[in-house]
Amino acid sequence: MKEIISNSLFFGVGISLLGYEIGLLLKKKWKLAIFNPLLISIIFVIGMLSVFDIGYETYEEGAKYLSYLLTPATVCLAIPLYEQMELLKQHKKAIFIGIISGVLTSLVSVLLLCALFQFTHEQYVTLLPKSITTAIGMGVSKELGGIVTITVAVIIITGVLGNMIAETVCKVFRITHPVAKGIAIGTSAHAVGTAKALEMGEIEGAMSSLSIAVSGLLTVIGASIFTNFM
């Protein structure tokens, strides 16, 4: 059995899709944020790999073809952005003020909490880029002397969490305008959150896509200043 799985190129993708499908079913049955298809599929795959004692490398051998599509998919975020260009121009002031406030909030809150938990400078700069997309965040962490593997883990957890809680947070804190929802999700939970924003609506998705790029670039500048504060 293990031999077959180790040699199969389709096992990784297959088991991921199966986990996602289970997540969708659970979500349909109980409409709770915890039954987030992405979270369920990650837990399901980790569980299956542990039960059958299969290493991550073996899984990744096939599953890497899923991640392979991520760069072209991100390029395609230009499509919703293009289609909502009028709305973007109309609200450009609100959008940029919103994203800037979000980026500053992220940096300040990481600074305060790291000081509270008495983290080292290395741990602090590892967390600074936690809200931005993985590829930019890795670069920032490396540049500032952080631990890149932990940065990646924190960014992924942030994204999955943002994906899970986006609808609830918008409802509880009465964020009702679709532009505001999209900007909030993209700035706080980058591309993984954006996947949820795209499900919520075209405007939400477009605004969230825009926030990935803008907040990512602003964080590159912001983090290089904030690294001196602790």
Partner: protein, 125 residues
């Protein structure tokens, strides 16, 4: 063949993004360069949106699935964060919620202020 051509255009733009990433020494990923180039091509109508829309929409629709391998990868990095997992989880939860709320509320506030101003202007006219 429609999908093949559309996917080909998307991959070509992605490739240009990768080349730019190699040439420019900034921590900006190929995907962001590609996104900006794609947007530019669509706005100048060099690549009309309909010539990439079907394949692009499909990729966007299945985007959530593409994060599964990275999430499963946490099983490897777990060893490195197991010592500080509790404060780490607290920091992640608090900052993610706070950033989402602040960003959303600020954006919404500015939008409604702008709307009021516009209404006022219209009345004056």
């Amino acid at each position: 063949m429609k999908y093949v051509r559309q996917f080909g255009i998307i991959l070509a733009v992605t490739f240009i993004g990768e080349v730019l990433k190699l040439c420019i020494p900034l921590p900006i990923p190929a995907s962001i360069y590609g996104l900006v180039i794609m947007l530019g091509l669509m706005m100048t109508k060099i690549v009309p949106v309909k010539s990439v829309k079907d394949a692009g929409s499909f990729l966007i629709e299945i985007m959530s699935l593409m994060f599964i391998p990275a999430g499963v990868g946490l099983m490897i990095s777990w060893n490195e964060i197991s010592d500080i997992w509790l404060p780490l989880v607290l920091i992640i939860i608090i900052t993610t919620v706070v950033v989402m709320v602040v960003t959303g509320r600020v954006t919404q506030r500015v939008i409604s202020q702008d709307n009021k101003k516009e209404l006022g202007n219209q009345k004056r006219r």
